[in-house]
Amino acid sequence: MSINATLIGQMITFALLVWFTMKYIWPPLFDSLEERKKKIADGLAAAEKGQEQIILAEKKAIGVIKEAKEQSSEIVTLAQKRANEIVEESKDTAKKEGERLLLAAKAQIEQEMQQAKEGLRQQVADLALNAAEQILNAEIDKTKHQDIITKVSKQLS
């Protein structure tokens, strides 16, 4: 139980162990610890930031929805107005068209009436002439009274 050269051997071993720990063991392990700490801190910060962004996005989304609603109601109003206009317009057009058709029909009727009148007049004249001819054939010379007949037929028209 005495101090001897073992002391020196032990000191050398101790020095070697401390040197090795200092050089190869402490730095990598400690660095990985620090790095992990930093990673976790970063992660937490990022999570917080994400949370904030979500809140911001929600606010933004609410704004967008509101705007869209306003826009859509505006569009609906406009569309209704436009529809009313179109209805009015078409009513107008229909009325005008109807009037036009009516006018055209009237004109046609007039024309046809005119034609019928003309035809009738011709026929009456022909009939009258015929009748007169037959009468006169029996009594008068056709050529002598030509003028009178023409005059009469003129009056008929």
Partner: protein, 258 residues
């Protein structure tokens, strides 16, 4: 467990046999081979374990080995940061080495006292004392290394003159210079001696009690050695912790400039 051979030598013989190191050489140049061998093996174990952890060290999810190593690193780092406020690349690794190495030395105490001497005798070794901390050489080797570091840092931080001034003029001022010097020298020298003797004393006594228990009849042994072993788990950790913390404290005192 006292075997027949030991019984023949008597209880004293058994105790002395267990506390005699395997030695080689004469006088000062005696080497305690068992102390050197076991402390080197345990140091190798410590270094191997931490090197494995350090090689696989990642900032991601740590594995089992890395987790354990990091737990110790954090523990030591907390101790260092608590009492040492300077910046040093040496102190934290030094503290880790001291804590783990001393713990492993002390842990050898928990093996049954006869196992290793029995294996040794089968290999032809007369004596084998497996707990390095029951060897004054081992504890003093560590505490004297720490003492050198204290002196080195005192001179490095305060300068040779600053350190000399601290030795001469504190705590009672320049008029009591010889008294100051004596007090300071005793204070400084007491540090390594108390460090080494505290560890040695605790472990030597613990080992001695294990040996004494081993001398009792077999049916009494478990009743006594079981509680003593449990108590000893506390002691070996505590002694390793005390050695580490005092080293940190002494070195931080060496760093403080008055």
């Amino acid at each position: 467990m006292s075997t027949e051979a030991h019984a023949a030598e008597g209880a004293t013989g058994y105790i002395i046999h267990h506390l005699t190191p395997l030695h080689f050489g004469e006088g000062f140049w005696t080497l305690h081979l068992d102390t050197l061998f076991f402390s080197a093996v345990l140091g190798g174990l410590f270094v191997w374990f931490f090197k494995t952890a350090a090689d696989k060290a990642t900032a991601g999810v740590p594995g089992l080995v890395q987790n354990f190593a990091e737990m110790l690193i954090e523990f030591v780092d907390t101790q260092v940061k608590d009492s040492f406020h300077g910046h040093s690349k040496l102190i934290a690794p030094l503290a880790l080495t001291i804590f783990c190495w001393v713990f492993l030395w002390n842990f050898m105490d928990l093996f049954p006292v006869d196992i290793f001497p029995l294996i040794g005798s089968l290999m032809g070794l007369d004596y084998l004392r497996v707990v390095p901390s029951t060897d004054l050489n081992a504890t003093f080797a560590m505490s004297i290394s720490v003492f050198f570091l204290i002196i080195f840092y005192s001179i490095k931080i305060k300068g040779p003159w600053g350190f000399a001034k601290e030795l001469m003029f504190q705590p009672f001022g320049p008029w009591l210079l010889p008294f100051n010097l004596l007090l300071k020298l005793v204070e400084e020298i007491a540090k390594p001696i108390s460090l080494a003797l505290r560890l040695f004393g605790n472990l030597y006594a613990g080992e001695l009690i294990f040996i004494l228990i081993a001398l009792l009849p077999w049916y009494l042994q478990p009743v006594l050695s079981f509680p003593w072993a449990i108590f000893h788990i506390l002691i070996i950790t505590l002694q390793a912790f005390i050695f580490m913390v005092l080293t940190i404290v002494y070195l931080s005192m060496a760093h403080e400039d008055h």
